[in-house]
Symmetry: C2
Subunit: 671 residues, 2 copies
Amino acid sequence: MDLAALRTAHPDHWMMASAIRALTLDAVAAANSGHSGMPMGMADVATVLFTNHLNFDPAAPHWPDRDRFILSAGHGSMLLYALLHLTGYEDFPIQQIRDFRQWGARTAGHPEYGHGRGIEVTTGPLGQGIANSVGFAIAEEIQRATWGDKIVNHHTYVMAGDGCLMEGISQEAIGLAGMQELSHLIVFFDDNDITIDGRVSIADRTDQVARFAASGWHVQAIDGHDPEAIDAAIVAAKADPRPSMIACKTHIALGHAAQDTSKGHGALTDAAQMQAAKDAYGWTAGPFDVPTEIKAQWEATATRGKAAHAAWAERFAKLSANKQAEFQRAYDLDAPKKLSATIRAFKKQASEAGKSVATRKSSENVLEVINPIMPETIGGSADLTGSNNTKTADMGTFTPDARTGRYIHYGIREHGMAAAMNGMVLHGGARPYGGTFMCFTDYARGAMRLSALMRVPVVYVMTHDSIGLGEDGPTHQPVEHLSMLRATPNTHVFRPADSVETAEAWELALTSTETPSVLALSRQNLPTVRTTHTNRNLTAQGGYVLAEAEGKRQVILIATGSEVELALAARDALQADGIGTRVVSMPCMELFMQQDEATRRKVLPAGPVRVAVEAGVRQSWDMILMGERGSAKKSAFVGMDGFGASAPAEVLYEKFGITAAKVAEAAKALL
Amino acid sequence: MDLAALRTAHPDHWMMASAIRALTLDAVAAANSGHSGMPMGMADVATVLFTNHLNFDPAAPHWPDRDRFILSAGHGSMLLYALLHLTGYEDFPIQQIRDFRQWGARTAGHPEYGHGRGIEVTTGPLGQGIANSVGFAIAEEIQRATWGDKIVNHHTYVMAGDGCLMEGISQEAIGLAGMQELSHLIVFFDDNDITIDGRVSIADRTDQVARFAASGWHVQAIDGHDPEAIDAAIVAAKADPRPSMIACKTHIALGHAAQDTSKGHGALTDAAQMQAAKDAYGWTAGPFDVPTEIKAQWEATATRGKAAHAAWAERFAKLSANKQAEFQRAYDLDAPKKLSATIRAFKKQASEAGKSVATRKSSENVLEVINPIMPETIGGSADLTGSNNTKTADMGTFTPDARTGRYIHYGIREHGMAAAMNGMVLHGGARPYGGTFMCFTDYARGAMRLSALMRVPVVYVMTHDSIGLGEDGPTHQPVEHLSMLRATPNTHVFRPADSVETAEAWELALTSTETPSVLALSRQNLPTVRTTHTNRNLTAQGGYVLAEAEGKRQVILIATGSEVELALAARDALQADGIGTRVVSMPCMELFMQQDEATRRKVLPAGPVRVAVEAGVRQSWDMILMGERGSAKKSAFVGMDGFGASAPAEVLYEKFGITAAKVAEAAKALL
């Protein structure tokens, strides 16, 4: 590359882009780790985007109608941090750049949502950002259709690299976005032909432009270092009614000795080489120093966005106070006031009706009363709508022709669905829930972990939650998944036993502001076990006494979901033998463990023997069974110790020994 | 569709295909569950494939040079079972078809590897089969290059549906296969435009033919009910040097009232509609009855394969006895005799050298001595070769121009890598291992679970196994993953503490015949803790006494991997205070729990207090800490209770309180 020619052709642009490159080199060198090459390669695209297009206001990082900028190639985090610093975000003074990758800094190795205002999303696990962006764009489409384009009308810009596009999740995102004609989604592909192991061609020869085109995208291929070409491509992308992909041919680590090599992907810390690169840029300022006039030019890129923000604020102020409050409520993740009463009424009706219902159907019944009062919900399923029971009567389907529809047919794309839901929450104004079979949490794990890490309250509706699904067999029968999810920090795993607990779980999931929820729901019918109505949400305690022992309390049976009925039947048998038996329903272990010790002891006193029953593996039960200090000496677990099998559900329960008789037997053996 | 015309045009073909359709209808109706439509739609393709092309021998289901038939759309399992029955596989008499989806039957809801000979792979979780097939085809290419095409020369045929192709993993498979020019891989796309939720277009408008072409595949689009077109397409696919995709336009549930509808995807059990469909086929035999002449025609499809098998056997017999034994050894998953001595020598050298080495580097060092004596190993990494330390000096890279290379650059495709590795083991003659960062087990989970379920001994080399990776931050720092993997049945999770344990773990992983292994390896250097050489593989016991208490044994410290050195330092501190302290290294919890009770008690006697230290969540440790019956009353855990952070590793250990001082402190608090 002839850097001098580039500099001469667009001197202001060049020095602004050089500021990104210089800060990147300085920060990575100071940290002695990180990724220099990506920011250096994509600095031109970023500079044009911020200068000519992106509507943002550093003084109001959460302005709802801002354009979103998503760095899917999260290892290039210094690109984002440099931009946030240069444009004047309060959370990113130069000290943050100096503290790149250090304890307590907002400038973590990969962008971490919540660490500083201006970071729209946590990225780093490749492919997530581009899949999140589909959720951002869907949320924008729905809100634009709902509120009108005077209130909501912005773009989602994404930078993705070869890594993002090789990850399978990208295909799920591309396919969904193409079908949905998400016209406000614009993806820059950092086409630098380099990955960690070498040239891209050692692992992939995909024509990415043709691939995106095959899924209905508007596609362009440009020189990623030519400011005019970049600008023209963005203009064309905005004008096209399809989602747009701009393949930007770039040089990784532009201007450095490691340019166009795998080495350039990593941390470039050699002082002489850094100096040579800066010399090539014509960058004479010292480390972490940005000349005042260049900083001023960068700060001026916000002018357009500040004006747009002010104009938007005027338009927003013209909405009725009620409408403003309703708009804000959804962005604040506040549940509507009516929710609590609605849930209580549902519970009362369900406990009185006392029907036998699969909890997946109970969940649908709850959603039928919730969705009409929570317009911010966005439902969906990974092609199992009728099985997950996720669609309610009031919900139109979201399609290119029906933008106020709130139900998404995600297709057979669990990972893409989960990531899109993360994007919707992060966009704001949306509360997504999505369904698949519990076993396919395996496919969605990459994004589910990020819900927990980013603290976004996505709701995962995971039906067919055990061998109770029957004939589909072990590939479809979760056994380790409850433990896996319980092992994950900041995740609430609800396994309700009946319609009442299902309603309680939904209330907790929809009032959560920082924790994702997993609802593990049965395929098979379950009797109502909460036949006495309580206004109080007992599931909020995590575990509670469902049936008290008669006579001396010798046994405590603990169960979740479909096994609560087995525990109750075992209690009947034990009580018939004169053995006082309490049944504890434990719909959410995490919430139970958050209770104070007195509450936990009240539910699980130290004396009686304990038997837990759950059609899954034991691992997550050890703490409950043995007590935090091994307080309960005698305990047993009735559940699975291997994979399931294909047969009718009742046969499987019998063959795997998960029955009331086995539970009673286990308790007696301990006495 | 004009079924009569189809029947008239190719009467023999038609009745053979009708046998598949009739058996499918009968079996699904008897089970009252399952998927009728897919087998009915793809029966013509299957019939042509088996009649004119597939080389198979029902009398020798494991004949190494057979063509492989992979039903990626595993819900259509009755297609496979019908084929195995009709062609005369001993494990699939008509009773198995009658027992479809019943307890103990070989005919599970989805094809389960190991349930009956003739099932090449477990499918059902969508997209897995097509990704497995890439591994089958790679194994075939390597072996063909190694042994010559007289010994290895066969095709891998795959049937994949819209679900398989919407799953992201399919893109990983398509990209890798295209780049690698896997000419013996032929995929039939069941292009029926129907998914469970409706027409495909409600979720996807991808031009699949263009998509495959974009990744370098040979592509064709045909009428999937025209036997001549099917045959011609297979002939063309075999002739092309690229992997081949044949889009077969089909009608789901052909000839049934539910044809071309989502209903047709599921269980078609209405007796009158079934009869009407059979009438339309001209099928007059009773349920589960296949007229003798049609059965004979089906059995005759094996003639070509039987002859090929006989000819192959003659050629194979001409190999030297040594070569024959070596070929068979790899297919039997027998480790070479030299392995044990090689590992012992490595251990002796490592314990004497006593160096400080990251276990990822130790792993590379072990592989350097193993790979030369185990030509069946196939290494690789998901674009982290230099970080995972998975490539050894003797291993050439597998490319279209170097087919004896045994190292695969999988690209940034963890899920596709894991599934391809499953395919390699299932193909036979291969022992794959593949690396990525431990945290990205999340991406590979779908296939890792299937390694466990199928009982295939894939080795997952998961480096950067804790906050010890430092600056990359919480997106890259596993905390729950050790517990998640330990919760998974039939999975060995090894977390070695030094070079010696790493060698022992590799020995166990490479001699395993039925259990996949995960090697959790450190980024950071670890001191050698096994400084005294033992021939015995102590890791095989799962946990063992690494350092005995001096004086009265009051404390047992238990640790894995990088935290063993902390436990030893804590022991020094405690012993200095006169507190007798044992250190137990626990490199594989699963193997420890498989020991008899006496052994476990010897390692973890009931008396002393127990403190476990691991830089992950506590969940999987409860059983070890509290004893199976709560035998150890006093215990503590030093580890993580949330996500990590971005900072240098030593800062993180300090800030999260995972230090020798904290371990000693925890022990003292219990005394």
